[in-house]
């Protein structure tokens, strides 16, 4: 096996490298700080590998174009930030409904509205979950390092291909612009999953029927000889609009259960000293770096503090959070917003445990010292 290449890289750059490793062939988007480097690097790299880049007229169009490209058979991605993420929501719902694999990167900046364009935030956590209208499945991954931005982008593609749904990579500006040395994994060190396709000339192909033992319908690309219909209306197993209540119910059940039944495959997290923790910190993304330092220091001072870091933000790792809160009777959720991820924590916590939240939205990252102070208050 060849030695790994080591490079100094920014989170946004690692995201593109990970995407290319996963087979990215199409990027469409609209520039916005702090995600712009992703577009810039894609515009330079994609043509080199025979892929395509297009700068669209707005974020709505960027989202639409990647759905179109995915239907034409290419692994597709767009990247944006707060205001652009808002604009994409309607078409994100379309991709969820029509089951079109694609990856949407949101490098979170302080909002609402134009907010603080260059400042970090984790204010889009709930928007990622509920941003588009109607019930829909959501998968969101969030990295805490440059290397993890690389790995999770690959994973985002794999999950989107496997479950035929849009997958979000929620980075905060801290990670997006962080420069770190990373070891680039060799191709034999990671898995790449490609969507399942119908066998050529399958006379019985129904575009939206799930085969026995499979999770999602097999996906033919436009132009491969299967003439089928794709719509955002409620549709039957051929993809045609239907208004029957049982068709609607079955479709919604399918959309939700393909994720709900596979949470163990989708959810990943990392734990530090949670075994005997009397106070559990929950932190993710860039904030988890500060939290991990705080935990170390508090341990040195003799406090039994542990860290739970969800890597998959959505679906919410509820089994694990419930379990951990049974042991530690106190939970401190630290996040760069005024109380978003704390909401599901509250919902699934052990009834006797107490939940605190520390949030900050002034554009300044949360420091380890601030977290230590909060730990001491809650402990």
């Amino acid at each position: 096996m060849s030695k790994n290449v080591v490079k100094l890289m920014q989170g946004n750059e690692a995201c593109v490298e990970g995407a290319l490793a996963a087979g990215l062939q199409f990027y469409a988007g609209y520039p916005i700080t702090p995600s712009t480097e992703i577009a810039e690097i894609c515009s330079a790299k994609l043509p080199l590998v025979g892929g395509k880049f297009i700068q669209m007229e707005d974020e709505i169009a960027g989202m639409a174009a990647i759905i179109g490209a995915s239907l034409a058979g290419l692994k597709s991605m767009t990247a944006t930030s707060g205001p652009g993420f808002s604009l994409k929501q309607e078409n994100i719902g379309y991709a969820a409904m029509a089951q079109i694999p694609c990856v949407v990167v949101d490098v979170m900046r302080a909002g609402p509205s134009t907010g603080l364009p260059t400042a970090p935030s984790q204010g889009d956590v709930m928007q990622a979950k509920w941003g588009t209208h109607g019930d829909h499945p959501t998968i969101s991954l969030t990295p805490n390092s440059v290397r993890e931005a690389y790995d999770l982008t690959i994973r985002a593609f794999n999950l989107s291909e496997k479950y035929r749904t849009p997958v979000f990579l929620l980075m905060d500006e801290i990670i997006g612009h962080l420069r770190e040395r990373i070891e680039i994994p060799n191709p034999d060190e990671y898995e790449v999953f490609d969507r399942l396709k119908p066998t050529p000339n399958d006379k019985n192909y129904k575009a939206y029927a799930v085969k026995e033992g499979e999770i999602v319908p097999r996906m033919a690309s436009f132009g491969e000889g299967f003439s089928y219909h794709v719509t955002g209306l409620v549709y039957d197993e051929y993809g045609f609009p239907k208004t029957d209540t049982d068709v609607a119910e079955n479709l919604l059940n399918h959309l939700m259960s393909k994720i709900d039944n596979n949470v163990d495959d989708i959810i990943t997290y990392e734990e530090t000293q949670t075994d005997d923790a009397e106070l559990l910190i929950i932190a993710y993304g860039g904030v988890a770096r500060a939290a991990s330092k705080a935990v170390k220091e508090c341990r040195e001072q003799g406090m039994k503090v542990g860290l739970f870091r969800p890597i998959t933000l959505w679906p919410f790792p509820e089994k694990r959070v419930n379990k951990l809160t049974q042991k530690s009777k106190k939970v401190l959720v630290v996040e760069m917003n005024l109380g978003q991820y704390v909401i599901p924590v509250h919902r699934v916590k052990e009834p006797d445990s107490k939940v605190f939240q520390y949030g900050k939205v002034n554009g300044e990252p949360i420091s380890p010292d601030e977290i230590i102070k909060k730990i001491k208050e809650a402990y």
Binding site: Q25, F26, A28, P47, L48, G50, K52, I54, M56, E57, D58, I60, A61, G62, A64, A65, I66, I67, G68, A69, S70, L71, A72, G73, L74, S76, E90, N91, Y94, S221, F222, G223, E224, G225, S227, Y228, H229, V230, T231, G232, L233, F240, P241
Partner: protein
């Protein structure tokens, strides 16, 4: 066009018919124009992709037996741009309404035209929002009424063809649901044109536009188009007073110019070649 005709068998999803359109709606005639043009050109069905937005007109995609994509309101051209750039082999045709294309989708429309991307767009212009029940659109003539303009509109309507030319389309024509053969010819030429082609097809919505504006039923609307369509070439020779109350049809623009996807592919080839030479 009966349900048993060879054209229907070949190009329509017969099991999805009859369609949702009202009796006398002009949209069916225009949809037929699209498949007749495809048939005349003997396009490979497997390589045809029809993309639409949302509206009565946009429901046409579901009835036609190609790769069909019924998207979100106004966004058909943005989806279509992704499809075309991802697979340039596909013949991408967009069917859209006056509201879908020039109101909510106006931005995508002018930018698709500016890029001169090889997509043929057929705008079913019934001068109203049909699907939502007759509100005025950017194509509703000034002072006419809709359910949201009960006293008449005060905002002037777009000349969609001028807009298309101004934004950079390389083929632009207008016809009507009455002039079915001319319409087929223009759609055919639009498909053959390597670039962004716009065919504005004046349609009739007797249910809302006709009724609201006291323009009569489906037959009256058809007669109106028959009597008032003025060919652009004929118009050149007519004195101004003879043009009052008429609207222009014909081919307004046809020009050969660089097409987006081909230009982009040149870049892809160039940088790949340079890279392999450097390695």
């Amino acid at each position: 066009m009966s349900l048993g005709s060879p054209i229907v068998k070949e190009y329509f999803r017969s099991d999805r018919l009859p369609h949702i359109w009202c009796p006398g709606c002009g949209h069916g005639v225009i949809m037929r124009g699209v498949v007749m043009a495809i048939d005349n050109l003997k396009l490979d069905k497997k390589k045809v992709c029809v993309v639409s937005g949302i509206g009565c007109s946009s429901r046409a995609s579901g009835y036609m037996d190609f790769n069909t994509l019924h998207t979100t309101h106004g966004r058909a051209l943005a989806f279509a741009t992704g499809v075309k750039l991802a697979n340039p082999e596909l013949e991408v045709i967009v069917v859209t309404g006056d509201g879908d294309c020039t109101a909510i989708g106006g931005n995508h429309f002018i930018h698709a035209a500016r890029r001169n991307i090889d997509i043929t767009t057929i705008i079913f212009n019934n001068k109203i929002y049909g699907m939502t029940g007759g509100q005025y659109s950017p194509a509703t003539p000034l002072h006419e009424v809709g359910t949201t303009a009960p006293y008449g509109t005060v905002d002037p309507d777009f000349d969609i063809c001028k807009l298309a030319v101004g934004a950079g389309s390389s083929y632009v024509a207008r016809s009507t649901a009455y002039h079915a053969n001319q319409l087929i010819k223009y759609i055919q030429k639009g498909i053959e044109n390597k670039g962004f082609s716009v065919i504005e097809a004046i349609s009739g919505c007797p249910t809302y536009y006709g009724r609201k504006n006291k323009k009569g039923d489906a037959v009256d609307l058809m007669n109106y188009y028959k009597d008032n369509a003025l060919d652009i070439k004929a118009a050149e020779k007519l004195p101004e007073d003879k043009k009052v109350g008429k609207f222009l049809t014909g081919e307004f623009h046809h020009e050969a110019k660089p097409e987006y996807v081909s230009e982009y592919m040149k870049i892809v080839e160039k940088v790949q070649k340079e890279r392999s030479e450097n390695e």
